[in-house]
């Protein structure tokens, strides 16, 4: 039986111009990764393992203590079912329209209470960092989830290089603002640019990742290329994509979904089956690819690793 997968039809339907653009971005990203390899002292084998994409056969080159052993979500699902409102509000919009995003040259502006505030080129952000595969659960606030093999390095490593001062209590992030490249930013569905933030201890946690790839290959645009945050114990919208600014601030920074509906999306947004969204339940989730729903786990199953930093905190009040 010929099983036609949606990504196949998507690819054949994409106009030749955007396919051309995507090829160009892909080659550039691949070139960037290889350039990064020349600079970094240790280059993980995964990138050179021919960009293996198959969920069943792909294996991380260095299985780590943070990896989940659950079944991986196929690459085509991770790259065709996205919430990235900068490209439209439908799940297939990012894959369809993210080709116009220019991911290089890419800079991250580091500001605020750090000794090494500057505008960093992406290559310099990656300089000296050992990229590793991290297989994380990813839980959307809407009630679906995936298992994604990210490629990146701990945000903590980058933060340490920046030498934050004692006044740095929170880390704020910002996505690229470019309505000409990101058509969704022309709509008022959210305030642009997209912003997010973490408490300092959340940002320094070993689980928190700066990701540049998935399945061992560079991030596709629709997944937040060229560099994004991954905070697996929080709802997916906290894992801000296509980061252009990182600020170290004293007060809790604004976050986009909290601005849109403060009673529904809190600053912390820790995955919590006991605290429902005001309009729908968070007790269960649909793992993409599965028929039956699963029970949602406290902190998305990372309670052992992160529970400690919230001890004593009223999770219903600080949702």
């Amino acid at each position: 039986m010929l099983v036609k997968k949606r990504s196949d039809s998507l690819e054949s339907q994409i106009t030749s111009e955007s396919l051309y653009r995507r090829r160009r971005e892909f080659m550039r990203n691949a070139g960037l990764v290889i350039a990064g390899a020349a600079v970094s002292s240790v280059f993980p084998k995964t990138v050179s393992s021919a960009f293996a994409q198959d969920a069943k056969t792909w294996k991380p080159s260095n299985p780590g203590k943070f990896d989940t052993t659950e079944e991986l979500t196929p690459f085509k699902d991770i790259t065709s079912y996205n919430n990235f409102y900068e490209f439209g509000v439908d799940k297939d919009d990012p894959a369809r329209y993210a080709g116009s995003l220019k991911t290089e040259p890419w800079t991250i502006s580091v500001e605020g209470y750090v000794k090494k505030a500057a505008v960093y080129h992406l290559e310099d952000v990656l300089k000296g960092e050992t990229k590793e595969d991290r297989i994380y659960r990813h839980r959307c606030v809407e009630g679906w989830s995936m298992v994604i093999p990210w490629l990146g390095f701990p945000l903590a490593n980058f933060i340490k290089r920046l030498e934050p001062t004692s006044k740095a209590k929170y880390v704020a992030f910002e996505t690229k603002l470019a309505p000409d490249e990101m058509p969704g930013e022309r709509s008022g569905v959210l305030q642009w640019p997209y912003v997010e933030g973490l408490r300092m201890d959340e940002a320094m946690h070993p689980l928190t990742l700066l990701a540049v790839g998935l399945y061992g290959k560079p991030l596709p645009n629709q997944d937040g290329a060229p560099i994004r945050l991954v905070v697996p114990w929080k709802y997916g919208f906290k894992s801000i994509k296509s980061i252009v600014k990182i600020s170290f601030v004293e007060d809790q920074p604004p976050t986009s979904w909290n601005r849109a509906a403060s009673n529904e999306y809190g600053f912390y947004s820790n995955v919590n089956p006991d605290v429902d969204h005001p309009r729908w339940s968070q007790s269960h989730e649909r793992r993409i690819g599965e028929f039956f729903k699963r029970k949602t786990l406290m902190f998305n199953g990372y309670a052992d690793q992160v529970g400690g930093i919230y001890s004593g905190m009223d999770l219903r009040k600080y949702f």
Binding site: V3, K4, K5, R6, S9, T73, K76, D77, S80, Y81, V89, K91, D92, V141, E142, W144, S187, V189, L190, A260, A261, R279, W280, S281, R286, I288, G289, F291, F292, K293
Partner: protein
């Protein structure tokens, strides 16, 4: 005579057209052409087509009153029943693919989640309309009582729009457009009634045409 034949010729074609959305949905489902979350796609598609058919149902009277195309009324029952059909599919998707017939959790879920409660109420209101859609029922109730009962569709339409607004993360032009359309279609009836009341009994009595 000619017009009646045209309508009876058009009806089966129109019927087939109304089935297209579910046929396409099933086709995509079997081909694996739905998204990575097919159950969500089925829920959304059946839901939005329920709303579309409700809107179509409400369009008949304003259009025929403005254009004088009274033969349109002959399609209203079919459109209304298709609204009920897609509503049933949508509700079944919720009961089966979302809740897996866990009746205990469904019974607690419905009052707890306002968007589900209002969706459920809007659907339930369509049941008496579907049941009384037949010629026999129209005769049994009598035109006037039937008309009054079938105004329940106004509640269903408003409820469906609110259901849609309450279930999305953030309201977009889509929900606003449906809300505006339903508002206009209901406002039309209100203005028309006010207008005919103001004018008095000089206007010729409207021919009660039932499909």
């Amino acid at each position: 005579m000619k017009k009646r034949n045209l309508v009876s010729f058009a009806k089966p074609i129109f019927f087939a057209a109304c089935l297209l959305p579910v046929v396409i949905l099933a086709w995509n489902g079997l081909n694996g052409s739905l998204s990575a979350n097919p159950i969500s796609d089925i829920t959304n598609e059946t839901g939005v087509w329920t709303l579309r058919f409700i809107v179509l149902t409400l369009l008949i009277t304003p259009v025929r009153k403005i254009t004088g195309w009274h033969w349109l009324i002959k399609f209203r029952r079919m459109i209304g029943l298709f609204a009920f059909f897609y509503g049933t599919l949508h509700f079944t998707t919720y009961l089966w693919l979302d809740q897996f017939f866990d009746w205990q959790s469904i019974v607690t879920d419905i009052p707890k989640r306002p968007f589900i409660a209002i969706g459920f109420a809007s659907f339930i209101l369509m049941v008496p309309l579907a049941v009384t859609s037949t010629q026999k029922m129209i005769r049994r109730l009598g035109g006037k009582k039937w008309d009054i009962l079938h105004r329940l569709i106004y509640c269903t339409a408003v409820g469906a729009v609110i259901h849609y607004i309450w279930l999305v993360k953030v309201v977009t032009y889509r929900q606003i457009t449906y809300a505006a359309i339903v508002a206009v279609l209901l406002l039309f009836r209100f203005i028309w009634k006010y207008r005919s009341n103001a004018v008095g009994t000089n206007r010729p009595a409207e021919k009660q045409v039932t499909a």
